[in-house]
Structures are given as C-alpha cells and as structure tokens.
C-alpha cells in the first residue's frame, strides 16, 4: 500500500516538474527565423546579336541579421569566392561547334542604388552571337562544387522598316502628329521595345553641353500572322515628356539636335521574366519570379537590336518645342535658330 502511494507521489512530482520546466522555457520570446544562408547563385545573361562582347553577371543570395531592406549587404557577401569558370557553347545538330570562355572584368561600373557599387564583377567574352542558334551556358562555382546550366535559342534577324537612316526624311513629333515605327516579326522573339533618344544642346552661362533624354516606350508582344509590327510614338506625349523631364531655367538656351530610335527584341524567356516581375494585378499578389537557370536562379536569354541614329526633327516640331503650350518655357530655339516668333513678319 505504501509502495503504491510512493509511486503516485513520484508521478505527481515528476509531472509538476515537467510542467514547471515547460512553463519556464515557454516564457522565452526569442524565435530564430533565419535559416542558414543557402548561397543560391543568381545569374543574368542576355546574349546580344548586335554586340561583339557578351556579359554574364553572377552573384549570390546573402543573409544579414538586420532588416534586409534597410541595410545593404557587404560587397563580398554577394559574390562567390574562389574559382569560377564561365563558358558558352554554340550547338548545331547535337554537337558543340563553338566554345567561348568568359573572363572576369570590373571595367563596367554599376549603377548607383541600394546595392554596393564596389567590386562589380562581370564575366566578359568576345563572342559574335549568330541568329537562330542554340546556346548553352555553363558556370562552375568552385566553392560550392556546383555547375549551373541554362540554354536559349537566339532570335532571328531584326529588320526595321521605319525609321530608315535617311537624313532628308525629317521626323515630326508634335500634338496631333505621331511617328510610327515598323519592323518585321522576329522568329523566336517574345517581346519588343522601342526606345526614343532625344539629343539636344543646352547652353548655360556660355557653356554648351550635349545632353540626351531617353524615352522608352511600352513593351509590345508579338502578333500572329502579320507582316509588320508597329509602335506609335505619340507627338503630344513627346511634348509632355519634355515638359516633365526638363526644368525651365532663366538664361538656359536649348537647341534640338536630333533623335535616335532603338528597336529591341527579346527572347521568350525575357518576356516571361518581365511578366513575372511586373506589378501584380488581381488576387495573386506574390508571383514566383521566372527562372530558366538549373541549380540557381536567374535569366539566360537573347536579344537583337537595331539603332537608327541622327534623324532630324521637322521645322514644325522645332517650332512646337520653342512656342508650344507645354515646352515654351524650356528655352528651345525654333527652326530658324532663335526664339523670335515674329521672324515670319520681319523677313
């Protein structure tokens, strides 16, 4: 009988002791939400058929103890130490016909922003990329003993119909007059974009500087069974853009020089990436970012571009810049080279 009582007591005190211990530990409010850093490789490479040099950007994920959006990482924490081997292969009929080895370079500065600009290591190779070919990218990371792999089919040739590099053909961009860019559909292309660059001279305190204003147009998707693809550049919007981008300053004189057109086409992978990183509309707020890199994340795609540069603006466009409702305070010279709107009467 005494033995039974003793066992009961032991169980009772043991239970109490467990509850007490559980109570003590449950009072801890510290929870470790960080896992160990995975050092996931991040790769970006867009092969450009219009360029003789190709570039690969390789970085990695990082982990810091502070709020990630408030504290930029240390430059060393976003690059892999040790051996890195980057190579590109061109394949034809299931055989490698060309191989390019990339070398690290720090010649190209990184844009300023949240991430550190020091140690901007890119991998560069002198490689002429051929249209409509299969390319495979391999990256060996020594510190992780890992090989990353991605492949893409390069785009066909981009043929631009309008504009053509003809200096006597002036460009008119003013309210009520738009310019239409046209190009032939490119095989394997997933997205297109037109960029307009407006070049002008700005004279301030007797010093003249050539300046440019880039005006990227919205993305265009490929159509089906059409002869030409086109993008309308709005003349009214052009004047608005100048009004928004340039500051009216007393004593500053500006003179329109010319406009450049850059027509770009990108692969389907680039289109998927753009769509996956675009702001969400609707219920799905968190979209997974597209990747086509095995053993890592990132993008390997191709692009083609055509540049038509140095096209002159029509006299009506120059006069609209000088005296138009949106831009008249910006100090642009008219088509006669001054700002006297009575030229017509005194000549």
């Amino acid at each position: 009988m005494l033995g039974i009582i003793s066992v009961k007591k032991t169980i009772k005190y043991g239970f109490l002791a467990i509850m007490l211990l559980a109570g003590i530990y449950s009072c801890s409010t510290e929870i470790d939400i960080n896992t160990t850093n995975q050092d996931t490789p991040i790769v970006y490479c867009i092969l450009n058929t219009a360029d003789s040099f190709q570039y690969v950007r390789l970085q990695k994920t990082y982990l810091i103890e502070q709020a990630a959006l408030d504290y930029p990482p240390h430059p060393d924490s976003i690059i892999f130490p040790g051996e890195i081997v980057v190579s590109l292969e061109r394949w034809q009929n299931d055989k490698v016909v060309e191989t390019f080895r990339f070398k690290p370079t720090m010649d190209i500065p990184k844009d300023t922003g949240f991430f550190p600009t020091e140690k901007n290591i890119l991998y560069q190779a002198k490689a002429r990329i051929l249209p409509e070919q299969l390319y495979r990218l391999y990256i060996y990371i020594g510190s992780k003993e890992k090989v990353l792999y991605a492949e893409t089919h390069t785009l066909g040739s981009l043929k631009v119909v309008d504009p053509i590099p003809l200096s006597v053909r002036k460009v008119s961009l003013y309210e009520g007059n738009n310019y239409t860019c046209r190009w032939e559909p490119v095989s394997k292309a997933g997205v297109y974009q037109v960029m307009v660059r407006f070049n002008y001279n700005e004279t301030k305190d007797g010093v003249t500087t050539l300046k440019s204003l880039n005006w990227p147009q919205g993305y265009s998707n490929p159509g089906s069974n059409i002869e030409y693809l086109s993008k309308d550049i709005s003349g009214a919007r052009f004047m608005h853009i100048l009004d928004e981008a340039l500051k009216a300053e007393p004593g500053v004189v500006r003179e329109a020089v010319n406009v450049d057109f850059q027509i770009l086409s990108g692969g389907v992978e680039l289109r998927y990436y753009i769509e996956s990183t675009a702001p969400s509309e609707g219920a799905l707020m968190e979209k997974p970012v597209y990747t086509n890199v095995t053993n890592g994340i990132g993008l390997f795609s191709s692009m083609a571009e055509v540049n038509v540069t140095g096209l002159l603006l029509s006299s009506v466009t120059l006069d609209s810049l000088a005296f138009g409702v949106y831009t008249r305070d910006l100090g642009f010279l008219d088509h006669t080279g001054d700002r006297d709107s009575t030229n017509n009467l005194i000549e």
């Binding site: 008119s172 239409t180 046209r182």
Partner: protein
C-alpha cells in the same frame, strides 16, 4: 396653422431659390466640350505616288511632304504641317481650316554610282526631285491631290 403656412413658405422659397440658380460657370473655360464651337475643318488628302523609272523601287523613296499657307511660306520653310512619310504608306491626310494651301512633296534617290543622275535626280546619290502644287480645302470635305514629278 401659422407653423404650417410658415413651413410651406420656406419650402416654396427654397424651391424658387434653387430653380433660379443658373448653371455653374467654370472660370477657366474648361468645359466638357458640349458648348464649345467645333472647329470647322476639311481634309487634304495627298496620294503620294513615287514615279516609276528604270531604278528599282527600293532606290527611290519618299522624303518629304509639307503643307504651307502660301508660296512664300513654302519657299522659306515656314510649314503648317509636315507629315512623317514612309515607304509603305501611300495616302497622307491633313486636317486644315477651309482655304487654299500649297504643298510640296519630295522624293530622294539612294542608288549608287551615276544611276541617280541618269534617272534625272540632280547631284547623283541623295539627289531629290520636288513636286509643288496648290489645293483648296473645303468645309467638311476632302480634297485629294496627286503630286506630279518631272521625269
């Protein structure tokens, strides 16, 4: 009885006051367009044909199409409108107030060697030919012109 008649008078007064309130006037004149006088315009339609020659069609291109109010403005380059011309577009339209206008159309030769001179383009490559004419634009009407180039 007095209260009822007072109420009735107040309601009637409010009704009259509201009824007398004219439409609010936007001091900046930014109306919705209903009361604006529509601009009277007509259309000048230019059928910009590139004349055929022994040169391939891809070597003679449209270069310029401008409209001016009179011959002097055209000569001085004081245009009212300048069209964006394209290889693939034949018809160009201009919305203009009724009246008479001058137009000029230019074509350019981009063939190599002495081909352009042989085809009558002065100065050889990048030589241009011009066609100048007049047109009368009528209210709400379309006037069509076809520039004529010399051979």
């Amino acid at each position: 009885m007095k209260i009822r008649s007072l109420l009735f008078t107040m309601i009637a007064g409010l009704f009259l006051m509201t009824a007398c309130d004219p439409d609010p006037v936007d001091p900046n004149g930014n109306g919705n367009g209903e009361n604006e006088t529509p601009k009277i315009v007509g259309t000048l339609e230019v059928e910009f044909r590139v004349p055929g020659s022994f040169l391939p069609p891809s070597r003679v291109l449209r270069a310029d199409l401008s409209i001016a109010k009179n011959a002097e403005d055209l000569y001085r380059g004081h245009y009212l409108q300048v069209a964006n011309v394209y290889n693939s577009k034949l018809i160009y339209q201009f919305d203009l107030a009724p009246g008479s206008y001058y137009y000029q159309a230019g074509i350019v030769c981009i063939a190599e060697g002495d081909s352009c001179s042989a085809a009558g383009f002065p100065g050889g490559k990048f030589g241009m030919k011009w066609a100048v004419g007049t047109a009368t634009v009528k209210e709400n009407g379309t006037t069509r012109v076809i520039p004529q180039f010399t051979r």
